[in-house]
């Protein structure tokens, strides 16, 4: 579950407007915190298609996305800009993403129905619980044991403190 940070969006806007250097530094700091976990998650993505029939082929015309390891690894990334609010009114500030279709399939396949012929053959080691269970970013996140999350929150709080110290405008 994400940690709720009240006033983070206002802080971001304020940083951008009044302390652009601090805004950049904060973004860079967040990136440095997220890079290792993203790299770890990329490492969990298979170097080749776990199933031969799922691999890309020249005459493939199906709609089901084929597994391309490069695309799957490239799809694992992070984001430090706020998203649009979801239908419940929550805006994500910092997030770790698995954007590619094949990567998402590898990440989540078998979570709802573990049996069948597909997901048991994917290999990997799904970690986590509920909707946070997976083979890539969820596994990396689970193994991180909240260290990165704490660091991110600390970085945001640090940025707020620095801003207050510099300007005294943000409360």
């Amino acid at each position: 579950m994400p940690t709720e940070v009240k006033g983070a969006d206002k802080l971001r806007k304020a940083l951008k407007q009044y302390e652009p250097d601090l805004a950049k530094a904060t973004t860079k700091e967040l990136g440095n915190l997220l890079k290792p976990i993203a790299a770890k998650a990329r490492g969990y993505m298979p170097a080749e298609s776990p199933l031969s029939g799922w691999a890309e082929r020249a005459d493939g015309k199906g709609k089901f996305p084929t597994y391309n390891p490069t695309i799957a690894k490239r799809g694992i990334t992070y984001k430090t800009s706020p998203s649009r609010p979801n239908y419940r009114g929550w805006r994500s500030l910092v997030s770790l993403l698995n954007k590619s279709a094949a990567g998402a399939i590898y990440e989540t396949a078998g979570r709802k129905n573990p049996g069948g012929n597909f997901s048991p053959r994917l290999g990997g080691d799904p970690k986590g619980q509920g909707k946070m269970q997976g083979r890539g970013i969820f596994r990396a996140w689970n193994e991180d044991q909240g260290k990165t999350q704490g660091a991110v929150i600390k970085a945001l709080e640090g940025a707020a403190a620095k801003f207050n110290a510099k300007t005294g405008r943000y409360n």
Partner: protein, 506 residues
């Protein structure tokens, strides 16, 4: 591709704006509902009722017209007796298949005018309904296509995908085609009715029928207002016209009165009078022309118009004649074109060289307007011509052919020398030939079978030593007798000849 596979590390709740949006949306929706309700209320105002009534009357009139047209068609075909049954048939089809009689009547009429047979038309109309339901085309179009197919124009049926080629359609009898259509699409109309769409269609039919019934009632009511009966509606319409005219007159004169009052208020009596006079003289002829002169003027205008029409007609006729001439010339030119084509094709069938064939094919391609083939052939021909030129140049560059008789000269010279040598050689002593007869002289050794002609004036001297021979004749006799002696084995001819007679003994 955006996915929801993500780990939200930090998030913020910003739901208040979403709630505000929801509140605004609810208020907007409420407002729209109120407006909609007002619109529905407005639907039942007198104005809407009047418009609905007009539409109903219009629908009834259209339906009535279609029914009368069909009745007249039946009457014209001598099938007036079938009118009630046809009406019932169409009404039943309308209820059964949910297809408006506005479509069924024209469709049936097309089939009827083509077949001239009520039973056949009914059968084909059912086929048309099935085909219409299967293809999605309206039944009038399908009936039109079936009508055409009935008289042999089966081309239009191919678009319905009945699995027959144009050639097969042409070759088959219409009954065979109809059987195939029934096999493929039979029952489609009934199945279509059983669907929700079919139910809605039937609802629409019911609504339309209701509209027509209401429209009929409205027109009856108007007729009753005019006294009922045949002329009732006419009376009502006249009444409406009179009322409208009266209303228009009232409005106009009210305006005139207001204008006069305004003029009076201004103290402008002249304007007051002018307005009144204008209204009084409205519609009157104020030109001062007598009726007789007016009649003359009208007649003159009519004659002028007639002359103008004649001129226009003449011009049109001339243009048509010119067009026909041009068309004829074009046709003739087309015939010539055909002749040229025929000639070329005939020539192509003959035994011609490859280059000539290419030339002819090029001409044919140009005549038929086949530009791609023409350009291709032109290229080939040019290439062929180029090859011919190359061949001619090659032949021209060849050295002169040797005279095959050159060697003969030396051979003949050799013969001549040989002859000369023979003629100049010393004669050998005669040993055999002339010894028996005392002939002396030079013996010549000539080639076997050759004839020696003393062209060079060589003289032979023959000395005869036969004693009794003193003349050439004597030598001949000696020779002949000698030959006879040598070969005589009692040849009577020779004996007789010797005896002075030349014929066989009698």
């Amino acid at each position: 591709m955006a996915t929801n596979v993500k780990v939200d590390i930090a998030a913020e709740f910003v739901g208040r704006k979403a709630f505000n949006d929801a509140v605004k949306s609810t208020i907007g929706l409420n407002s729209q509902v109120k407006t909609l309700a007002k619109s529905y209320v407005g639907l039942f105002t007198v104005q809407r009722l009047g418009r609905a009534g007009f539409n109903a009357a219009k629908a009834f009139a259209a339906d009535d017209k279609a029914a009368r047209v069909l009745t007249q068609s039946l009457d014209n075909l001598g099938l007036a007796f079938a009118d009630p049954s046809v009406k019932n048939f169409i009404a039943d089809l309308e209820k059964q298949f949910g297809v408006l009689d506005d479509q069924l009547r024209p469709a049936f009429q097309r089939l009827l005018t083509t077949t001239g047979d009520v039973a056949k038309s009914q059968q084909l109309l059912r086929t048309a309904l099935d085909l219409s339901a299967a293809s999605g085309a309206d039944v009038v179009s399908v009936a039109g296509d079936l009508s055409k197919a009935y008289v042999g124009q089966t081309r239009s049926l191919a678009k319905y995908g009945i699995g027959l080629t144009q050639a097969e359609l042409k070759a088959m009898e219409f009954e065979e085609v109809q059987t195939r259509i029934n096999d493929l699409f039979g029952g489609q109309a009934q199945i279509s009715v059983d669907t929700y769409a079919g139910s809605l269609q039937r609802l629409s039919v019911a609504a339309n029928n209701a509209k027509e019934i209401i429209g009929g009632g409205l027109l009856d009511a108007l007729a009753a207002l005019g006294g009922g009966g045949e002329g009732g509606l006419t009376n009502t319409l006249n009444l409406i016209e009179k009322t409208s005219t009266a209303l228009a007159t009232f409005v106009r004169r009210f305006g005139v009165g207001v204008g006069q009052l305004a003029a009076l208020a201004r103290g402008d009596l002249k304007a007051f009078r002018a307005i009144g006079e204008a209204e009084m003289n409205r519609g009157r002829d104020m030109s001062g022309i007598t009726p007789a002169i007016r009649a003359e003027l009208t007649k003159a205008a009519a004659e002028k118009a007639a002359a103008k029409n004649r001129t226009a007609l003449l011009k049109t006729t001339k243009e048509q004649t010119k067009a026909i001439k041009e068309q004829t010339a074009l046709t003739k030119a087309g015939t010539l074109f055909d002749i040229q084509q025929t000639q070329i094709i005939a020539a192509l069938k003959g035994d011609i060289s490859a280059e000539e064939r290419k030339r002819l094919e090029l001409q044919l391609a140009i005549l038929t307007g086949n530009t791609s083939e023409a350009s291709k052939l032109a290229g080939e021909l040019a290439k062929s011509q180029g090859l011919s030129q190359q061949l001619a140049a090659y032949l021209a560059s060849l050295p002169d052919a040797k005279n095959p008789f050159t060697a003969w000269k030396s051979y003949l010279d050799m013969i001549e020398a040989q002859v000369r040598r023979i003629s100049t050689a010393s004669p050998a002593p005669v040993t055999s030939m002339a010894s028996g007869y005392g002939v002396t002289g030079t013996q010549y050794s000539l080639p076997n079978g050759s004839t020696q002609t003393s062209a060079a004036g060589v003289e032979f001297t023959v000395n005869v030593n036969a004693g009794s021979i003193i003349a050439q004749e004597g030598l001949q006799d000696v020779l002949r007798d000698t030959l006879l002696d040598a070969s005589l084995s009692a040849k009577f001819a020779a004996i007789y000849r010797q005896g002075g007679s030349f014929g066989l003994p009698q």
